[in-house]
Chain length 450, copies 4
């Protein structure tokens, strides 16, 4: 096959076919996986004594995608409903009659495509998991390095209480690790051989059907399922759900990056380098382009997952439409989740946190952010209710008069009496009110290393 | 641009990139539409006195997709977030300095892509509407030809009462016509120029911004909207909703075709021709492959519509992710709806109804299907309640004894007395109980012609 | 019917069943709409001479939801597949035999539910459109009042160039108005009577079917469609698409409000009042709770639209599952879009923009935001290329040295020579570089008033 | 709390709130789960020495949903963004001051709702899994009983080759078992305590935060996660994906039931009993109402899964909209999947297969269905290519002349010579060409029992 202009070289390819997954889900990858099926089948037939070993060898030798043009295989698919007859014809045409006769024997188009889909999936998940692992590693490094760097914690996009940037990164890390674990598990369990023949009985192979499928499973390193699963689509559906979860958590991290990178926050930026994210006419901009690309990819995933799930309602022994709808949808799910992972990795590996800006932003509320902290300190001597009430009053005054809370507190004799000026300053210090943030980071890092 | 291996030539292209829409939404079509924007912008600048007319001419002369490679344009998009900088660079490189300086002046990447998306949409809808119209014409012909051909009406997949095949076709027709009308309207109203510059104020064009956009709108034959719509995405959203409705009704018709084509019903088949839908090992099969392809395409559309709608939540003056997520999604929506329309057209134009099988199937219940008809006839003399009760009893007996309802009725003296044997036969005749089917068909045909 | 604890009184009702739509889509509203169908049918039968007028009057007199318990109607629906047999039984039980006999005559369950769905829709759209109109009015007021108030325009969440807050509000306005126009149109065109009888032929009404349906349409003020549309679901699908577009644009506006309300931007806040959006322990917070609720509602809509579209693939003359899936989905679509509109209205009507903070934020980049403006001014004397190059250099230096752009520019003799200090200041003034913002606002306001 | 009119008693409740899941996801169930959180928190505070044990006891004693009205709790949620402040207020009002002061201490609204969601999920999955297990058991019984009953295998809704009804049931069984296994695993792993306080640091609990959460996890029997997961939504997302897979496979089985129940196939019917699925005016109908309800529920699930996945993009330490969108969506996912399972169970437990009709339908093609079988038998003596060619010719003739394949084969001397009349009959017998169907059934049954 001539090197096809792959999706990644298209107009939008750098954004939506980024990273190494793209090459695992393109037409060539599917074609190779379909040929791998045919090669394994030939060997399976030979192992079961149904075909001569040399025919199997001859077939396997022609099961190389480089020998075919995708367009040759796809042509005529409309008349047959799948490209498999085209594949069988093309493969057979490259073989002597004896071997040609054994091609595809006992199998049906769905066997080829479903098994190919599983091979494509298993292969595509390798770079996808690599990029996710690298993104997680980048988070782990950020979590460790910025373990004690205070930053405003924000709820409903409002500053609430301080956290650390390390804790934010640890949260990202735990999410990415959870998604990876789920994907690893799905990768180990879900992909399976599909071999059922025309209706799932392998009738044309007589008594030998299961021997053939056992050998094929062994060769393709795919588990042999208890039953063929041509219209029981739990496998692709579970896969879709987990890919959707992975894309979602990527989106969460990328969303945070874009929010932190806002001009007004300025708490993190993607590394520049060669005009990345910049603009000649808007020189102050440092667009978080990788995070934006990750978000764009992730945003397209939930609808595709819904398509996979809705396609589960498949009729009898082969569906009229729902099955076919899965093919490209699965490819896109892998492609977009993979692109999102690759983009997020770039974003995180280049991320430049700005702890000074984090610190400045913590002061934006003039200390009101630390009101709960002061109340907690004060509560030790005055009791929680009185402390809360006192702080409520002081905070209200600070807000109304637009003065720092510290100044107002210094005018409150009860507060000064209980905490002293030093105590007030201590309670107003974001670093004094981080709870168990450090221990949570340690937990996330341990889990990541373990 | 070298003739790229388009999506329609891929492994699954005959199924999911069928018909003439594919060529209107591929990378080359997008590139041409982007170039059309740049050409119109250059003319707009010239018309507003901002650029020399000969610079505009020089630019427009280079705005031909054949002069570029898609990969050249797409390269570098990751660093900038869109392929537009690549486009501007490539276009400028083909121009003398004076003209190059005017390229893309005043516009932002989003202006180019949004306007291009609208051009792509408007162009892609032409063949899509053609195929829908042809499918509707085929329905109209079926509705007229089979106006009086009785067929079992089925509710919850159970035979209920007779209808005519013409009425089924008229229902299909009305649905396709409704979808076409909605698409025509959307095509006329929704696509609009987008020109706002960096943030929607056209500031770099000074006072001339609206003059430029007016001229561009005129040249591109796109309405000029009241405001730029960079983050107000009602236009693409409405388009997506209507495409979803069109794909849905295509799916309905295709679903009916596959159901009618079931071996056990055998009431319609897609025309064979050159082994279409056949199988060498299963010679009795006549797979309704075109209807299946239409269903497969249609099944992928709702998730994409959801993606377009979810992407409406766009931030400030340009979205970080949601906007970008629209690009390929819109292309796919057009492509899949177009492919579904093309496939349905093929299915319907070749459809071979089998009125004999329809008639046979009407007899499957031994006349029970006509029980309501007999009750209605009988009600004229006995009153509805008594007639219903009598028929309920007779039907029950017929079902229990597995005898034709006719035989049981002939044993009921009240029935024979009221209707006579001829009257019973008349009431058992499906053609006698078709209500206003004919008039409804006429209405649908009139509406179609009008 | 006893006043049921409606959805709006539930645990999450104030968030997801807000405003006046809730009462139009609850069980009672559906029940009344179903009864309205039965009343209209009785009158239709009478008008066609099929039933005595007094029977019709008697039936209509019992078609009041207050006479029934929802649970009475719903009971037994599992065995029949719809609650209509329960309704017919309950209605008939409240009538003398003569009238009871005419109840539901000629109709099928789907006729009742589909027509009721259309009545529910038409009624629910009234308060929904009211809330949308009020939200648009609030935008119009903001657009007019803040016509000239500069605010940073932000792309990819980065400050890009100045716009005005009025232009932001005008953008919101145009989006809400577009959504309203689309909803108005859908409300006028889409809802239609459904009356087809068991399979769409109205056979049991003999020749009188169309007379009955004409009279029903007149009484219910619903258009009579050319054909019954029991399995041609373009109507509900188009409705769903437009509701999705409306929810999406609501989400856009609400998203902007939450972003502007960020502590670090502080450019707008929802009006407080009675502890709204506040927190006792976090006194500085002013959570934009209404905008958050609007976003939460809007976020749930795209998936429901996809459900409606996927449900279009309906079999033969009544679907086995897909039709039934529409009922509650349509209710939820109306409810959530309505709740979103009600919440957005509250948010916008109480919105408190802070022009001082807008102005402060415009200075955050030390003038780099205005670099393009200076280049444009400078270009008039130096030519665009030289001006751009000069500004690129100056901006780079300002960024690197962390000095105001103004200071750097004052050191550039070419700039000072061309513009003078006053000219530099003028070009650095955000108000000097707003392009056609004011004219665009005027356009939006005109369109809104028109 | 007064026994609220639950969703299951509504107009459509018997269809969409069927079975025992409904009571586990209604407002009362949520309220109880929220109270369970507050009780566990009180005990956790006491265990950590932060609150007196008797206060904890007093709080726990009031954490009974029967003591509250849902409307009391929900009121005011709009102003605060969640019903938790209402809950805290209502609970505190029922306590002496000392205890009231400890209520909700250290927690935030999200802690309550997220933990409650996990409790609701864990509880709702119990009846859901029960119904799925019962449905699987019903399949197992069918698979065993009809192990050798031939039925047409159908691909693209066309008869292809024989399978057995037992194999169909075994396929259903394996799908349901796969879904159950995935749900069991998700139930064991996904639900986890959420306790993070305002921003995830548990700062107001000082050093004791993790002690409190450990005790709470113990009491609630929920795993304690490594980190709070307030904006890392992998847990609910994975849950949604698996629920979607379960609903999908339910839909597949229900779809097959409705197809088998078609009048023209008549191969299975749902048990009648008390007018179930019947119609007074259409006495021949036996609508598969339970399967239809299962399909209707299942059809609504994919869109909800997409909503859950799209909601993963949550900002910072608490999302503005996306989090809130999860609440009712999760409830609906559980409710609809549970209803689908309950309905499918009813359908399968009452299913009445008709082996005679299965057999009759196998004859519909006049033996063409067995063409491959004859070719296979013949291939043993003539070689596969010659046999295939011969059968192709004979089948074509049979189809064209509309004669049984047997008659045509008896005229072919080569066939008669090779197989004899008995051999021809044997090869035409569907039971002779079932491949490994029996062994696959055994595998499915073993897996089910294991």
């Amino acid at each position: 096959m001539r090197p096809s202009s792959s999706q990644s070289e298209g107009l939008f390819g750098e954004l939506f076919a980024r990273g190494a997954v793209a090459a695992q889900v393109d037409d060539r990858a599917w074609l190779q996986a379909m040929l791998d099926f045919e090669a394994a089948l030939a060997h399976g037939l030979a192992a079961a004594g149904l075909a001569p070993a040399d025919a199997a060898e001859a077939i396997a030798a022609r099961c190389d995608a480089d020998l075919y043009e995708v367009s040759e295989i796809g042509r005529g698919a409309a008349a047959k409903g799948t490209p498999v007859p085209g594949l069988v014809k093309a493969l057979s045409a490259r073989l002597p009659d004896d071997a040609a006769r054994q091609v595809h024997r006992g199998a049906t188009s769905q066997d080829v495509i479903d098994t190919a889909a599983m091979l494509v999936t298993r292969r595509a998940l390798v770079p996808l998991l690599d990029d996710l692992a690298a993104a997680a590693d980048a988070c782990a490094e950020l979590a460790a390095r910025y373990r004690d760097a205070p930053i405003a914690g924000r709820t409903l996009l409002q500053q609430a209480l301080p956290v650390t940037f390390g804790l934010k990164a640890a949260q990202w890390l735990s999410g990415l690790d959870e998604a990876r674990a789920a994907l690893e598990e799905v990768r180990a369990r879900v992909p399976a051989l599909q071999l059922g023949g025309a209706v799932g009985t392998l009738a044309s192979l007589g008594e030998h059907g299961l021997a053939v499928s056992a050998e094929m499973a062994r060769r393709l390193e795919l588990p042999e399922p208890a039953l063929p699963w041509h219209t029981v689509r739990v496998r692709p559906a579970l896969l879709a759900g987990v890919l959707g979860s992975a894309a979602g958590v990527i989106g969460k991290v990328a969303r945070d990056v874009t929010l932190l990178a806002q001009t007004e926050l300025g708490e993190a930026a993607e590394g520049g380098g060669e005009g990345r994210g910049g603009s000649s006419t808007l020189p102050h901009k440092r667009n978080p382009v990788a995070a934006v690309a990750a978000l764009a990819c992730a945003q397209r995933v939930p609808g595709l997952v819904a398509t996979m799930l809705a396609a589960m309602t498949q009729e009898h022994e082969r569906a009229a439409g729902a099955w076919q709808a899965e093919w490209e949808t699965l490819s896109e799910l892998l492609l977009l989740t993979g692109s999102a992972a690759a983009a997020l990795r770039e974003s995180l590996e280049s991320l430049e946190p700005d702890t000074a800006r984090m610190r400045e932003n913590l002061d934006l509320t003039g200390g009101l952010l630390m009101s709960e902290s002061v109340a907690t300190s004060l509560g030790e001597s005055l009791g929680r209710p009185a402390a809360n009430e006192l702080l409520g009053r002081a905070s209200g005054r600070a807000a109304e008069e637009q003065r720092p809370l510290r100044d107002v507190l210094l005018e409150e004799s009860e507060v000064v009496g209980a905490l002293g000026e030093n105590g007030i300053d201590a309670a107003l210090d974001p670093e004094s009110y981080l709870g168990v943030a450090g221990r949570l980071i340690d937990r996330a890092l341990e889990a990541h290393r373990g």
